[in-house]
Symmetry: C2
Subunit: 210 residues, 2 copies
DNA sequence: TATAGTAACCTACTTATAGTAGTTTACTAC
DNA sequence: GTAGTAAACTACTATAAGTAGGTTACTATA
């Protein structure tokens, strides 16, 4: 991601005294500036007027070079997605056993998020602001429900509350992702889905709807 | 959710010949109409002008009664979130063992999604359109990676590809949710998070970072 | 060194949509 | 039948995406 950083690009640009900068360089500057802007403000709260101001260029230049706000966001999204994917794939490839592959892949993912917190949030999670807090609240309530379930069952009796809270959120994320996946597999019964996740958490040797 | 349906409300409204409808009734009509509109078009692609048209009222009436587009969406989001929460809680309460509680809770969730597919998507997942396809593509690539991992490890050797695909998506959802949760627990190391999910999937009896 | 061609850029607009100021209409109580 | 008010309206502002059409500065060739 961003093989060249913004400082470099702008140094190169400063050479062109009267402001006529070659296309490629200008595009790189726009994309990198936009990436920062989206990370700071999210998609909706970023405006093309502001971007033009930051790049010190008029709006039609932006549109000429990157097409539209949507397209600009998609470029950034796709590039970041590719880097994330590559990093996970490499990590997995370099490990040998299933367990070490899972650990390595997970670690690669969390390291990516750590390095690009704001950007990751803006690109992959939601259009920050507006409703993220409200949705977070609903998620928290559901996770609390799961946490209570786990605690009262003594299934993880030697575990810390932090761990349980994290696992509860992870579990809710799993349900949600499975529900999204379900849109493309509508023939599956709700009972089956519920069984899948239960079985994943509490493995039994009983034959299951797999 | 929607103790009264829209048909009922509009029947009551039709009594008021010259269009002066009591506040409460009008609010109910607006909220229910908006819920349908948001479910159909998502937040961004819904406009207050269109809502006013559907309700056959001028825009200031809408603003007088529900404040703003944001607020309207939040009302609907909160109500739906509350119903979802209640249904899961009831299902969990009525079951006895941990396993049956997990199944019942999961089933309640998936039934809710089934009954309100479009609305659930619009409220809880994303502002449809724009980037949902691009994000879905990235998620799919990552899930494929996980699927391949599972298949090649023979960890689930008697499982169908559909099941494996679903589980892979669920697992990715778990990672993502844990990363979001991480924003509120930044002191935790990436390694710890990666271990948590690995351990969840492949339980060992070794002591762990819990 | 003049000038034709073009890449890069600009000013000033249109369109869409959230939100509002100020006014009018119909029902209600006396 | 008239005063008061709840409900509604017309017509506006502001912001932001996107565009039409024209201008400027570099480049190649005579």
């Amino acid at each position: 991601m961003s093989r060249e950083n913004l400082k470099n690009i702008e140094k190169q640009i400063s050479v062109y005294k009267h402001g006529k900068v070659p296309k490629e360089l200008r595009i790189a500057q726009i994309v990198l500036t936009a990436r920062t802007m989206f990370a700071q403000n999210g998609y909706t709260n970023s405006s093309m007027d502001e971007l033009a101001k930051r790049v010190r260029v008029s709006k039609p230049v932006i549109y000429e070079l990157v097409g539209s706000k949507d397209n600009l966001f998609k470029m950034i999204l796709t590039e970041a997605g590719q880097e994330l994917q590559d990093r996970i794939q490499n990590a997995v490839d370099e490990a040998s056993t299933l367990e070490s592959k899972l650990k390595a892949g997970g670690l690669a993912f969390f390291n990516f998020v750590k390095e690009h917190r704001q950007l990751w949030l803006a690109l992959f999670v939601n259009d920050q602001g507006l409703f993220s807090k409200d949705i977070a609240l609903i998620r928290k309530e559901q996770s609390d429900l799961v946490s209570n379930l786990i605690v009262s069952s003594n299934a993880f009796e030697n575990s810390s509350l932090t761990y349980i809270s994290g696992i509860a959120h992870a579990l809710n994320g799993a349900y949600e992702a499975l529900a999204i996946w379900w849109f493309d597999h509508p023939e599956i019964e709700p009972e089956t889905l519920a069984n899948w996740i239960t079985e994943l958490l509490l493995p039994t040797d009983l034959p299951l709807n797999r």
